[in-house]
């Protein structure tokens, strides 16, 4: 495998809501109120190799978007380091830091929330490359036109505003903006979740074309396992802030190891399925404010043992390239 472009080492992210004044005052009198903290990402380590597509899947609140933002350098991790091409990103300074930041771009879920409604498409796409000196002001127009054509938009639309486009076209604008600074690595956070299937297929095809033509590396975040399976080389499954399983896509979908992964896969509706009795796993995802002790999945797990309630399982290799965090593998 080629050298990793992004490597996460023991990355964690805690969001803390500080106590307000009233609570602080109450604490002076011994109320013992504590800050509310969410461990959104809990000790995550994995690497993404050059040219690879890694799918990051999990349900609401599992921390996949937070992790994506950490990788895209939008959020700083609370602990751990993110290495970009072998160098810890927090040690980079000045021009090197800026260059590293440009090389990792993000495409968001809701293009209407991530595109400035008062800017024309030409400015949305063209602003960053001029600011960063990738093209001169004089070249900007041609550059924007070529980018729009690259993502399948008519360059004549460059003077329009985001609201004049359909959902699929807005997704393309978001992609053009990310490509404008010539990134090597793109974090796609639910970038196709809001689109109709026929439009989603067009955008997924575009992602694959761009990957091939521009030698891009993706971290593809999605709750939709069908999409993840289609696009990814490797898949990371998260549950309540922790990685529960990492495996090559083929292996993960053929032989999922972690009980959560198995349950998740069994519950994905499939076109090939005949009319069936749905056999769901019990319970709901616990609140990330107060995750269960030990293995976070144990209250819903049909195989939970005493050990699972006390001790969080480590992510251990069960086959080449296939790692899973479950005590069953040690038994």
């Amino acid at each position: 495998m080629s050298e990793p472009i992004i490597a996460l080492e023991h990355v964690s992210k805690r969001f803390v809501t500080p106590l307000d004044l009233a609570a602080q005052a109450a604490n002076l009198f011994g109320a013992g109120l504590r800050e509310v903290a969410v461990q959104a990402v809990d000790d995550v380590s994995f690497a993404v190799a050059e040219g690879e597509v890694v799918g990051l899947a999990g349900e609401s609140g599992c921390g996949k978007s937070t992790l994506g933002r950490i990788v895209a350098d939008i959020l700083p991790p609370s602990a751990g380091t993110v290495q970009f091409r072998g160098k810890p990103r927090d040690t980079l300074e000045g021009a090197a830091a800026r260059a590293a930041a440009l090389k990792v771009q993000m495409i968001f879920q809701d293009p209407m929330a991530s595109l400035n409604p008062r800017m024309r498409v030409a400015d949305i796409v063209g602003e960053a490359p001029v600011v960063h000196g990738i093209v001169t002001r004089a070249e900007r127009r041609d550059y924007v036109d070529s980018l729009l054509a690259r993502v399948g938009l008519d360059p004549r639309y460059a003077t329009r505003y985001p609201h004049q486009f359909s959902g699929g076209q807005r997704a393309r604008i978001g992609i053009a903006r990310a490509l404008a600074v010539k990134p090597d690595f793109i974090v796609c956070d639910e970038s196709v979740a809001a689109l109709d299937v026929s439009i989603q297929a067009q955008i997924l095809n575009l992602f694959m074309e761009l990957r091939r033509d521009l030698k891009l590396t993706y971290l593809f975040i999605s709750h939709d396992l069908g999409v993840v399976e289609h696009l990814s080389d490797r898949v990371v499954i998260m549950y309540l802030g922790r990685v529960v399983e990492i495996a090559p896509t083929e292996a993960l979908f053929r032989a999922p190891n972690h009980p959560y992964t198995r349950a998740l896969l069994a519950n994905v509706p499939r076109l090939e399925a005949k009319k069936q009795r749905f056999a769901p796993i019990a319970g709901e995802i616990p609140s990330p404010l107060d995750p269960p002790a030990g293995c976070h999945f144990h209250p819903r797990c049909p195989f939970a043992m005493a050990r699972c309630k006390a001790e969080a399982p480590a992510l251990t290799e069960i086959a080449p390239g296939h790692r899973s965090a479950c005590h069953l593998n040690a038994a």
Binding site: S198, N205, E229, L231, P269
Partner: protein
């Protein structure tokens, strides 16, 4: 792998000889609903016909703006001005609903015909406790004591898999998770054992494990009570596992209808085929998806003739005339001049 997860995907025994002679619970014929805007009348639903039998699950599939939700709203008489039903007939248990009085519709809604929405907060009042809302829903249609109504509400919550129903009855909707809220909405919808339940994308906003739980519950409850179910969704994969028959809508019209397995295995209409090809599937990993070029037309400016023709690989001059719904073997129908040939099953 333990049996527990091995997708208890055992096929549900389906009554092969569905009692077709029995009159359907719902027969929609040539329904058209238009919205009268400044730019003229927009036909959101345009000549839609289908039937649903007792205990049957019909999947109504389409993309945004295809008219699937407006169809559901039309059945319940919930289309608000500037929209109204401009033609066709909706017969529910033999009774004509188009033109029925508001009072009559109010009697039916919630009692004989129920609906669940994508956002359960459309059903639930955020400032009332669950018990207040459920008891109100019961006493609106039946004369029962408060105590009996509460008991029924409690039983209904238990039936949709809500633990500790007594505590939950005294809670407010915001204290529930999204999946729980949807369960409460389903419990309310099924309080009066309706003959027809219309579900408009009720699991779209939910996580897969929760979606699966809701599907399991709705499926079991409808099977037990013989409720006919119309499941409106954009997700063909959900329909594949849930429905008996599927109707695919495009630009306000049903373009294909038939038994769900047959339609998914061998679609007749190019749009259905395109939709199926658009879904990432296990068999075609990494290969480009068979995308449909272009995008759905605005219902305000439909192309003349077949609305799908501008995006269709098989379109030719004939398609300038709108095709009618034609029957095909195997209890199927499609609205296309050039349907894909059915390979005869050996």
């Amino acid at each position: 792998m333990p049996a527990r997860f091995q997708a208890e995907w055992a096929p549900v025994s389906r009554p092969e000889s569905a009692p077709t002679h029995e009159s359907p619970v719902l027969a929609v014929t040539d329904l058209s609903t238009a919205f009268f805007t400044r730019h003229g009348a927009v036909r959101a639903v345009d000549g839609t016909s289908f039937t649903v039998a007792r205990g049957e699950v019909l999947g109504l599939v389409g993309e945004s703006g295809s008219g699937k939700t407006v169809t559901g709203f039309s059945i319940l008489g919930l289309v608000d001005p500037p929209g109204r039903i401009v033609g066709g007939s909706i017969r529910f248990l033999g009774e004509e609903l188009v033109g029925a009085s508001e009072e009559r519709l109010r009697r039916l809604r919630g009692a004989k015909i129920a609906m669940i929405f994508q956002d359960p907060m459309m059903t639930l009042n955020p400032v009332l406790r669950i018990d207040t809302q459920m008891i109100e829903a019961i006493t609106a249609h039946e004369r029962v004591s408060h105590r009996a109504a509460r008991e029924r509400a409690r039983a209904a919550l238990t039936a949709v898999g809500i633990a500790s129903p007594d505590e939950r009855l005294a809670a407010y909707p915001h204290q529930f998770s999204g999946g729980m809220r949807q369960r409460v909405a389903i419990a309310i919808a099924l309080l009066h054992r309706p003959a027809l339940l219309i579900a408009d994308e009720p699991t779209t906003a939910l996580d897969v494990t929760i979606q699966s739980q809701i599907l399991a519950e709705v499926q079991a409850l409808c099977a037990d009570s013989g409720t006919a179910l119309i499941w409106i969704t954009h997700d063909l994969a959900v329909v594949a596992g849930l429905a008996d028959r599927v109707a695919v809508m495009y630009a306000g019209r049903i373009v294909e209808e038939g038994p769900v397995d047959a339609v998914l295995a061998q679609p007749l209409h190019p749009y259905t085929r395109g939709l199926i090809g658009s879904v990432p599937s296990r068999n075609r990993r990494g290969a480009p998806l068979a995308q449909i070029p272009g995008m759905a037309p605005s219902p305000a400016a439909l192309p003349p003739g077949c609305a799908f023709a501008p995006r269709c690989p098989r379109a030719d001059a004939v398609c300038a005339t709108a095709p009618g719904m034609t029957g095909h073997p195997g209890n199927r129908a499609a609205r296309c001049w050039h349907p894909y040939a059915l390979e005869s099953a050996a």
